[in-house]
Subunit: 302 residues, 2 copies
């Protein structure tokens, strides 16, 4: 599979994810809803729909291709992870956090609505993610639903995404060494990306060594994603990215680029890619979609 | 059971809840944690421990007394609900929301730490609540764990607490009629209080009409709680409450007091109490703890 074919599959899956997200957000609208409730849901829709590559849901799908998995389950789990990702962007963009006025080329949620609504929209998106996983209206048994809730909660919380964002905020201007930046990124973006891989593998019925290999791949992909993100922030195109570039350097953020320089970061990216790719060799030919996703992550321009 | 005995049981159960919350927060501390992660957990502890009556966990217990329920399950579910309650207070106190400098007689989380940390602490507390329910380390089968996750997520999200807070913020200065204020409160505080009753009843094995009666009681108790809250804000003691009084009127908040006046609100509170108490008659003598809790809610001075 070449990168162009993978990009086509990513776009195709993205449309299915969009429809699933629409359906989940549709749970929130009732005939009794008052104007302020509808506005909250509108803010949640603004933050969730009509943008984003849907990389995390695609990782669920790519890992799920390692075994037999229900397509409806793959979509539901991918959408739940995407809801957590969307909420985290809303809160990260707040004035007290990264203070970003735009996101995906559109006004950030707190700019399009207001700060209080953005805080609540993020909170309610997180709740919706867990409701989506826990409800009985998708093909998974209760054991699997509860296991996915626990895994997503761990990846999203203080030992995952929230802990990473706390490190990121504290690291502005402060010197973190390679281990510190590695931990920051493993938590902030890596935990959710790795969980997407793990969840897909679980839906495919993987266990033991095969599951462990997918987890190791997920951690490597997360690291590659972040190094590429740092490179794009320094050298990418603001119009392709849909957000201003150079923001990390301006804020003195702890990045791999700052630690290794551009050439060093590129070399590190290739090393991480090679290692993650090597892990896939253990998983056989069904791993071709995961391999193509890794290529997409490393070669993306936005 | 008289009110003094119920107050003693509430305090006794509160100590068990405190220990359970300590245990859940203990999951977050690892040897690899860096300073900023430990600070995030410290903010979560500040927001969660050492304060609060633990009314919601006690409601779980009181409803669970309607049938055979595992004490460890009652504690786990109560603590999970309390984590959601604690996160909501942290976010409600933020400058962009109610802008409250104190909570339970101590500095609010964003004052004791900072705004970004308070946002993240609330986010991570919500994730921890769902992890606590979904994990396998407490006595409930997977079906029950998933069902409780779905119920808590619904009560906490846009159709519950977050929707109610959105109504509350929008209603400042605006005129809401009785139905509007009723919906606001049913979502903002009622949904979580009613879910605490429902969850306890489910742990006790209730179903059908008995479960429906507990749900109706929970909605009534939630309404009584809110009318009492409005009365305390207007006429209570700031030192007992641990927060400034008169804040609702100063902000032009939509309250039952504003709609009915003090005497009218007191009359409404008694009517709601009588109706909720009547519902309990259907549930037999095991409902005595729920009845005592209703008395506590209506007669509390803080």
């Amino acid at each position: 599979m070449n990168a162009a074919e993978a990009a086509r599959l990513l776009a195709e899956h993205g449309r299915l994810v969009e429809a699933e997200l629409e359906a989940l957000l549709g749970w929130l609208e009732g005939p009794q809803s008052l104007a302020a409730e509808r506005r909250l849901v509108a803010a949640m829709r603004h933050a969730t729909l009509g943008g984003g590559k849907r990389l995390r849901p695609f990782l669920v799908r790519a890992a799920a291709a390692l075994g037999p998995a229900e397509p409806a389950a793959v979509l539901r789990v991918g959408a739940a992870i995407e809801l957590v990702h969307a909420y985290s962007l809303v809160h990260d963009d707040l004035p007290a956090m990264d203070d970003s006025p735009t996101r995906r080329g559109r006004p950030s949620c707190h700019v399009a609505f207001d700060e209080a609504t953005a805080i609540l929209a993020g909170d309610a998106l997180q709740a919706l993610a867990f409701e989506a996983l826990a409800r009985t209206d998708w093909p998974a048994d209760a054991e699997q639903r509860a296991e996915l809730v626990a895994g997503l909660a761990r990846a999203a919380g203080a030992r995952g995404m929230c802990g990473g964002q706390a490190l990121d905020l504290a690291a502005e201007g402060a010197g973190l060494d390679e281990a510190g930046i590695g931990r920051l990124q493993a938590l902030k973006t890596g935990a959710l990306l790795a969980f997407a891989c793990e969840a897909g593998a679980r839906l495919a019925g993987l266990a033991g060594e095969a599951l462990a290999a997918v987890l190791a791949f997920g951690r490597g992909l997360g690291l590659a994603f972040q190094i590429k993100d740092d490179l794009l922030d320094a050298t990418g195109s603001a119009s392709l990215l849909g957000k201003p570039t150079g923001a990390d350097a301006a804020r003195g953020k702890a990045t791999f680029l700052r630690l290794f320089g551009e050439a060093g970061a590129r070399a590190r990216l290739e090393a991480v890619r090679a290692e993650a790719s090597g892990v896939l060799d253990k998983l056989g030919p069904e791993a071709l979609l995961l391999r193509a996703t890794l290529d997409l992550v490393v070669e993306r321009q936005s």
